[in-house]
């Protein structure tokens, strides 16, 4: 009887430990490409004029994590490309932003030149006058 109880307790503790490890792993898990794609498609994050993504509305910790992670990776790419093109990171990012906003699909969010979030429709998006 005593043995059975001990085994049960051990099993319970083991399960709890596994659950805790899983929860910890989930909290610090890398941002997956599908998380980013899903957030973008659902309009929870949107393309900004400056070439980075932003959280639309109040957002959540998960969305902010996706946005920060994406923007850090984008900035690294922008920095490398800007150097090869002999322009500033801001210029390269802005030029990419022009194309990214143009390429948004209907339902996705983008930032208009006045700073407001817009939902892309079948019509052309509102873009900065300097965009090609």
């Amino acid at each position: 009887m005593g043995m059975t109880m001990t085994n049960k307790t051990k099993t319970w503790l083991g399960n709890a430990a596994i659950a805790a490890v899983l929860a910890l792993g989930a909290a610090s898990a890398p941002v997956l490409a599908q998380d980013y794609a899903a957030a973008k498609a659902s309009g929870q994050i949107g393309e900004k004029v400056d070439g980075y993504v932003g959280v639309v509305g109040a957002g959540s910790a998960d969305l902010r994590r996706i946005v920060d992670d994406t923007n850090i990776k984008r900035k690294a790419v922008y920095a490398e490309k800007a150097q090869s093109q002999h322009v500033t990171i801001e210029e390269y990012a802005f030029a990419t932003g022009c194309t990214l906003i143009a390429k948004t699909a209907p339902g996705e969010k983008y930032q208009a030149p006045n700073g407001t979030w817009q939902t892309r429709t079948a019509a052309a998006p509102q873009r900065d006058s300097r965009c090609p």
Binding site: K81, V87, E91, Y92, F94, C98, L100, G115, D128, C131
Partner: protein, 73 residues
């Protein structure tokens, strides 16, 4: 009399200066009115120094960058 005449000359000059100052003042006022803030909110000024020709030159390269990195764009 001569001194008085000179004095009159001075006051004439002073009058001209005073008028000039007034004219300048009213011009400044008019200027103030003409540079009032527009009713529309000012758009993002962050990228004010980014020139259109630079954006045009980068367009093709930016499109390649987007295609090369589908996980972040």
């Amino acid at each position: 009399m001569e001194a008085h005449g000179q004095g009159a000359g001075w006051s004439g000059w002073r009058t001209q200066v005073a008028l000039a100052v007034l004219a300048a003042g009213s011009m400044t006022l008019a200027g103030c009115i003409s540079v009032n803030a527009p009713e529309k909110p000012i758009v993002i000024e962050l990228n004010i120094n980014i020139k259109q020709e630079v954006i045009y030159r980068l367009a093709a390269d930016a499109a390649d960058t987007i295609e090369e990195n589908p996980d972040i764009f």
